[in-house]
Amino acid sequence: MLLNAANFSSSILFWRSKVFLFLLWGIVSLKVDSFVLQNDVKRSHPNIVIELPCSQKYLTGYFYEKHGQILESDFHGLAQEVGSDELSRSLVHSLKDVFGFSELNRHLIGEGSHRSLVTNFKLNIKPNDMSWLNNHYCQVVVIERLPIGVFADPFELQHLVEHQVFLDVAVIGDTNLELPSALSNKSVVEVHMNTTHNVLSRQSEITVELPLHARYPPLDVAGYSKIEFNQPDLLMRCKSQVTQRDFCSWILTGWSDDTHKNGIFWLVPCGNMEHTTLVSSITFISALVSALLIVLSVICRSTNEDMKNS
């Protein structure tokens, strides 16, 4: 089944300028420009479905455990790696084009070193397949690949899960809160959200607000360091409520398009290396002067007491 999906996707992707590989784990990528699911004619975003045991809660975690590195856009590769069986292949076929995402909007809110990345999109569900939806329980999964200059606090995100803002969250990679960018590595955040599944609307709007924090950037003469964000990957993770199979389907219906950067920038103030000599010398001189003042006052006081008592 996976092979079919791969062939299908490769034939489509062949005449596309950019090829992005989808992660079968149900990370659905959303295109920047509006995407209308009902338009069957020029389907340029084939669905890929990956079946993994439901015990695997996080796709990024699964990839990290297997490869020891952060999941990049090679979903296709992962799909092939996971493999498929007859049942999976037929499932993929049936799940083709069930879901779609459109109208992706992203922006940063807040000021300073602590901001939130807000991702807005619409989840479109193809009407023919409403019955399928009734038999499955689905969640939206957003995978955010964070640039080095920012980090997400796992404990803060856990707090949000406890307050039921998100269904589940995982942060994979460098989660060190304290080190500056120059000594840090990339990280990826996987957020699971509930859809308004019970309402069974054809289109539901999903908003993901991810609190992020800036690391201390490398030094720059300009005084500010620019951090750019990539597109997220969007998927659906569905579990069948009818069959006994303990497998969850991760459905990818689009791909992340790096060329369509919607230009989210975050300017973080950084130190200026031209200040180095001045700052270091004045710092040490001040410390020395203060220390000498204190030592002198101690000596003077002793001398005074000597004179008083003699």
Binding site: H114, P269, G271, S286, A291, I294, S302, E305
Partner: protein, 478 residues
């Protein structure tokens, strides 16, 4: 005892006026205190205040976006949860304390999640009690004592730090208990707690030398110590005793310039025992936890504090220097240069003031924090707990020198916080301004140190006994 205390005062009319002028702390409030305030009532009020704050903290955590509880408290609780299941507390990232703390907080899981806060607040109240005990031992009159204790118990910084779940009150309580033990001549007990507190938090290592000097200079065996009644109503103002007071300055300076004398005179049985026992306790704890948790314990719990260079902004003057250099290593020369002012000040303070132990410890702590590579707000508690111990001997009046000191310290802090807010929450590049603000904070700390030193009436904790070989004093100042 009170008769003796007042004897010197009643007989010498001239000295009463002089005494009033010399010490100013008592002038801060009217001497006729309402009879209803006594120590017990103050403790009860403080206890209720803290309980109320803990309860409020729980409510705020549950209902508001911004939490009352300190983030460190959650770190401790998580570590306690790990320890309860037999794992290492260092699996919790940013847990950089002794595993003892995690063990202490295990009831967080069994009883209630606020157990830790209750523990820390009780330690807080204990500090108040110990301050009272120490001042009683030094024969401070009741009014002054109550005021000094109130400076700790009702200091907003103090009661929030315990109720927010910060573990510093425990360290403060241990340090004050060590002072009490030394004053009572219980060297072994003092040594035990000292080893434990250094294991818990590294910074009390700076007190090693003053403790050793004090234990040595008393020249007496335990339980034979003569506590100097260094109360403000006696001592230097009593003309009959003035000539017989040992000049502490000359003794100390002789010791400073004759290192062999220093070493020779310092190795007495008390200081040897103190060093041996506290060292053994420290190494025992280190070895035990190393055995249990391996290199993680050493790296996170011990070495991190010694080699900590945090480039993120904090009150220290070194933060911008560290940030500008964080992409390459520091040379040995640079490390030594930054250590030199700290060392100079510590040694000068120790050798001059060690005999007046609480004063010495207070000055050392203020200087240590001010010259440190990293300064966070919780470090201020380290000297707040020692402040009440020196206030009765300070001739600084609230108007205007006391107020100047307070406003200088708080003002420079607020100034720094303003720039820090602009940097962190408004995202503007104000590194230079923030760095200058930290320089100003160091200047404020220096000025305050100088003023406190200038206005302090030096009074030794122990007076040298008859058996002292080089002492000229033969009077027991009772």
């Amino acid at each position: 005892m009170s008769d003796q205390r007042n004897a010197g005062v009643i007989g010498d009319r001239g000295s009463i006026a002089r005494e009033k002028k010399i010490w100013g702390f008592g002038d801060w409030f009217p001497t006729k205190m309402c009879g209803s305030i006594n120590f017990g009532r103050m403790m009860v009020i403080s206890a209720f205040l803290r309980l109320g704050l803990i309860a409020y903290g729980e409510w705020q955590d549950a209902h508001m976006e911004v939490r009352y509880t300190d983030i460190d408290y959650f770190v401790f609780s998580d570590a306690a949860a790990l320890v309860a299941t037999g794992k290492s507390p260092f699996e919790r990232s940013t847990y950089r304390y002794s595993p003892l703390l995690a063990f202490l907080l295990i009831p967080n899981l069994i009883l209630h999640q606020s157990w830790g806060k209750l523990l820390f607040s009780s330690a807080d109240l204990l500090v108040g009690l110990f301050v009272d005990i120490i001042l009683k031992l030094r024969s401070v009159p009741e009014t002054l004592r109550l005021l000094s204790v109130a400076v700790w118990l009702f200091n907003p910084f103090t009661f929030t730090i315990g109720t927010r779940g910060n573990c510093e009150p425990i360290v403060c309580a241990m340090i004050l208990w060590i002072i009490i033990c030394i004053m009572n001549g219980k060297v072994i007990q003092a040594a035990f707690w000292y080893g434990l507190v250094v294991h818990f938090r590294i910074y009390p290592i700076i007190y090693a030398l003053p403790f050793v000097l004090v234990l040595n200079n008393q020249h007496a065996r335990p339980r034979e110590c003569i506590l100097k009644k260094g109360s403000p109503r006696s001592g230097v103002t009593d003309p009959s005793s003035r000539a017989r007071v040992v000049k502490p300055s000359t003794t100390s300076w002789k010791q400073l310039f004759c290192p062999w004398d220093l070493l020779r005179s310092n190795i007495t049985i008390n200081s040897f025992l103190f060093g041996l026992i506290s060292g053994s306790i420290f190494f025992f704890c280190t070895a035990l936890f190393f055995k249990l948790y391996g290199w993680e314990f050493l790296n996170e719990g011990l070495l991190y504090h010694l080699t900590r260079t945090d480039p993120r902004h904090n009150f220290s003057i070194y933060f911008y220097h560290i940030y500008l250099h964080h992409q390459h290593k520091f040379s040995l020369v640079e490390k030594l240069i930054s250590f030199l002012p700290q060392l100079m000040v510590q040694l000068a303070l120790i050798f001059r003031f060690a005999a007046d132990l609480p004063f010495c410890l207070f000055l050392q702590t203020v200087a240590f924090v001010a010259f440190n590579k990293v300064i966070t707000a919780q470090y201020f508690v380290w000297f707040f707990c020692l402040l009440p111990l020196i206030l009765p001997w300070s001739s600084m009046k609230l108007k205007w020198k006391g107020l100047i000191c307070i406003s200088l310290w708080m003002g420079s802090q607020l100034h720094w916080l303003l720039w820090g807010y602009i940097l962190e929450f408004k995202g503007q590049n104000v590194f230079i301004q923030l760095w200058l603000a930290s320089l100003l904070f160091l200047a404020a700390n220096t000025v305050i140190l100088l003023m406190v030193i200038h206005h302090h009436k030096f009074s030794r904790v122990f007076s040298p006994s008859l058996s002292a070989p080089d002492s000229t004093d033969t009077k027991k100042l009772d």
